[in-house]
Symmetry: C7
Subunit: 98 residues, 7 copies
């Protein structure tokens, strides 16, 4: 994996989109009808983490390398070396593939 060129800030996570053809992982496909077609992606880099009310950092639940499902409208898309990435807050990550 090329050295990561952008480090997410705060509670954000950099994820790389997993293209449609690679997506059928053990049968998980997202219905087109789904009002909010979530996106499969891989965790590439973590921010510094969210702080709770007393300023303490809340550890991330996801880790680099995890395959995850993110809600479509949660993040901001960027392209790095022609690959699609999204900077998304951890709260918009729906699930982690087993």
């Amino acid at each position: 994996m090329a050295k990561i060129k952008i480090k997410p800030v705060g509670d954000r996570v950099l994820v790389k989109h997993i293209e449609e053809k690679e997506q059928v992982r053990g049968g998980i496909i997202i219905p087109d009808s789904a009002k909010e077609k979530p996106q499969e992606a891989e965790v590439i880099a973590l921010g510094s983490g969210k702080k709770d009310d007393s300023g303490k950092v809340v550890p991330f639940e996801v880790k680099v390398g995890d395959k995850v499902l993110i809600s479509k409208y949660g993040g901001t898309e960027v392209k790095i070396d022609d690959e699609k990435y999204t900077l998304v807050r951890e709260d918009d990550i729906l699930g982690i593939f087993a």
Copy 2:
């Protein structure tokens, strides 16, 4: 039950839709007129749980195997091996069937 392929994140729960024909459990049917037709489902997997202000994890009220009623617009639908699932926050689970 096939091994679960996706673990919910945070306060989310993975639930499997119970189809209409199996739904009439002891007479509970949801009026079509109901402005927000809730959905019957079974709890398949729990996230890591919600954290309160001081970062302490709040235990889930539902458990795997519970039959529940979820509000229609609360979660994100996914299909796994052709079955309909929803990733929904516990706060959008209305009730647990006795």
Copy 3:
């Protein structure tokens, strides 16, 4: 009363609608004009209760058997054995009939 088939989750309460003809209890009728025609109902089952910021459960004010007035748009309707029920948060219960 048939055994209750659904247990509310969290700060929700299961209430059974009291039909119009039984509603005139000591003269309490709700003006049609009222922009938000509240509904008379009976408390059937309580959830596990709301948690305050420190995670402590806040006791319910209503109890099973109470006759209550709920705001029309607060809950989700379900039908059980052809009777109308609503799953409503306690905060949307307006009053308890004396």
Copy 4:
């Protein structure tokens, strides 16, 4: 006063509308133009009170018998023995007549 038939829940107050003809108390009349024509009323019953963040009950400022001014859109109207009442949260009570 007939025995009160409904006890407000939480931070709500049951108030009885004071009709227009009785309203001119010491000259207080509400301009029709006022974008939000408040309503004069008498406090009939108090709820159990609002709880602060630590679950402690915050005492009511109004008491039964007070003549008050409520904002028009704050509560829910009910009719009891043909009289107009409103179930209103204390925060929507604007003032107490001296």
Copy 5:
């Protein structure tokens, strides 16, 4: 000053409008163009005060007799003995005339 007929509740303040002709106090006039033409007024009575998270009363900054500037849409208008008053929350008071 006639005895005040209405005591504000909570963090509200009763203010009496200062009519246009008396308003040019040391040159302070409010541009008609101002999208939100504030209103000059005099503080007549204070509520019991706002409570902070721990239930402690926060002292008022304004006092009876102060000439103040209030934002136009913050409060509720009432007429007392043909004079225009407004019941306004202290947070909607913009400034105190020196």
Copy 6:
């Protein structure tokens, strides 16, 4: 400077608009295209300050005499002796000119 005729309340600040011709201070001009054309101004008077959750006053960052940039829609305009002022909350002050 004429004696200031209005003292801001709470976390508000009284600022005097710096007219266009005086605005080009060291090259800082605001693009007309900017969706929200900020305004250059001078701090004239400070309120009593914002209170944090425990009621403690949070000191102001700006001081009287500072030249500042305020967001266009944050405050309320007033005219004093034909000069344009704005009563603006400190949070709507974008920056302080060096």
Copy 7:
């Protein structure tokens, strides 16, 4: 670098836009299609920092000189000596280029 003419207030950061031609840093380009085309920029100056609930300053994650990606609609644009800058809250900074 000319002496900075404006110091951001609070949790804001002054960033200087990096023009399109200089933007292709290690392949990071932002898809035009992206609903919210983020902007590449360089951190020029930091505010005094955000305060947590107890009034303690939360240290910045970014530092002067960092190349960052900001969300398009987060800040307020200003021009200084014909260069485009934005005053943006740190929470609207998506990532820091490695």
